[in-house]
Symmetry: D2
Subunit: 216 residues, 4 copies
């Protein structure tokens, strides 16, 4: 019988950055055993379409029981556990392939949105209990991160029982040295936090009932 | 034949505030003729359920050709034209009736989200052309504002051809005197801006193609 | 006998902006009578040295009883009544003459700092009482604004009884349309607020005792 | 002959917090040898007056060659190397002894301000070169941090050749779990950064010429 696998993705650098914490965290956890499952890391291109093709190929190949995609979110200061992916690509900047879609559907004829199927409140609670800042986020944006998140959840409809979600990470301190006034967390903290979030996801088949809302 | 009507809603004060700019703006525009239509203003209670009941009753009664709901968004500095409403009530604070739903659907068995059917890019462009700060927002939160926005779009499925959307407004200056460090805009500016946004909505049956996205 | 005069200065645009609210506000109040004194407006160049030369010449010519300098502060959301000017020029960007001093004294052998001699707490209180957002600011930066503020207070040592101070203003809405996420206030609100602050300054020879501090 | 000593101070918790990163960082570096000097750590009470008495007593006892005071600055995201201390106590909240001075001088008849005598630009440069976010700050506030910083610089006039300064630190991640939306850095990162800043201070008798300014 196959061993349980977690597919953990990160992105290549974009937007003029030399690094991307999401790929570094995924790579750092590659091979790690968490709650009886083994992490399989994958770096995605920061390109509309190609990122999703690579992800769906990896899902088919690794047959994971859980998929967590990671992304970089300059300006955010904590582990942002994303609640919902929306069916729109609207790029403020070009992706790494030079494409800048505006108001295109990720999946034509797909539903307007998908909710993450991970226990987002339990993940926030586990991070906070470990002394790490975390919150539920109500928007993953409209760039390649949301594109991959939406495409992931759409794909998982073909894989009953496989759960999926997305976490946005702050910048690394070295990135914040060049972007004054931006919050950051060091790589080791991010690696620890994502491992905690994965363990919480695997150990909660039903989410906690606690507030994670926003007025606006 | 009936005259064309715009239904424009705002909320009563909440969260300890004595006023709510959204209700004041709606009231100020009551009776105003914009692009051939007459504004009908309505103040909604800041209560889950009741707000939506009042809104749907008003839609039935006034048979508007366009519905725009307004809400207050402390912390935001511009006219936030909302793109999408999600099917979740998750209250960080209690509503004015003392209710604080957590992770409940606005409409059980409703779709995960609805997109606004107003030309949000054209509305942003018109505001900016008038020298007013505006942007597309990717999240209306998970409180009564999103609840009303989602419920509005769900209701409008029964009213083919009637378009709907939501704008979040900053605080009023008088509110910002008590909440240090919060952006604000005066009422007259907000009234002017909402009128401009409504005119743009009425005059664009197809939205502009311009970026209004966010990386995260 | 001479009529009482208020010297009110603003700056020309800088940093790539086409306008500067500080000059517009000063101009709008030129000739206005406030608490028995008449406003004399002056636009200063945004250049180290030249700005101060223009200011001191105007003080000698108009013999004001009170001098208030205004400046633009992108990112701030209220009327920032400055508490203190420091004896350092440290420019992150070049001034309008292409100069970018680093860690130079405004006045060699001058004291490290000067406090405003206007009743800053009374000015904040008057603005808030009028429903306008205001706060005491603990730093006027290290660019031409602080340069003028420091030089003003240094000059006023030669003019016993003449009081001086500085207010930083937010961006105008039209500026905020090009700088997303920046707070703004319309010109009419700024004009009203500066008039209120001036009236409060003229009517309080002793400042109010109320907190205007910051932890950091 | 005496060994060279660095006096490194931090504060006890205040403002309802259970911990204060500044005291933890100082304690963690106690006994550490940096550039030939040994760190002597001291925790100061967060009380006007008492904090300064404890500091001056420690300076007399330990005869340091350099004094660096650390403080907590909720809301800041990097190592904030303070440029200037001003001669005013203006407390928005009460100190730990229940005192809340308003517009009192730290040192009656003292100068309006003192500049740090540490090479603040070199410290920022060293931190950034190590991949840690840092900036010059133009204000240490008006609470106990600025009080200690001002009093320190005033005391050092009696100790020719002894240099002094102040660094504000972000919150710890565990603090940020309870203060949503606040940046944080883990203790290990802060300890590393303060050691780097101290080494830079000790190895630069003359500061670097590089911009560290702010427009406002």
């Amino acid at each position: 019988m196959d061993e349980a696998t977690i597919l953990l993705t990160g992105f290549e650098p974009f937007g003029g950055e030399a690094v991307n914490p999401s790929a570094q965290v995924a790579q750092a956890l590659h091979g790690r055993r968490i709650a009886g499952a083994t992490v399989h890391a994958l770096e995605l291109p920061c390109r509309f379409g190609d990122a999703l093709a690579a992800l769906t190929a990896a899902i088919a190949a690794s047959r994971p029981q859980l998929v967590l995609a990671l992304g970089q979110a300059g300006g955010r200061c904590d582990f942002s556990i994303e609640r919902v992916a929306i069916n729109v690509d609207d790029a403020r900047i070009a992706d790494n392939g030079g494409h800048q879609p505006i108001d295109q559907a990720v999946v034509p004829a797909g539903p307007a949105a998908y909710f993450a199927t991970l226990p987002i409140k339990a993940m926030v609670a586990a991070l906070q209990a470990a002394g790490l800042p975390a919150s539920v986020s109500q928007s993953a944006g409209t760039f390649v991160c949301n594109h991959v998140f939406y495409g992931l959840m759409h794909s998982l409809r073909q894989h009953p029982g496989v759960r999926g979600g997305f976490i946005h990470l702050p910048l690394l301190p070295e990135q914040a040295t060049r972007q004054r006034g931006q919050p950051s967390l060091p790589l080791s903290t991010m690696v620890e936090g994502v491992a905690i979030a994965l363990a919480a996801a695997l150990s909660h088949s039903v989410d906690l009932r606690r507030s994670g809302g926003a007025e606006a």
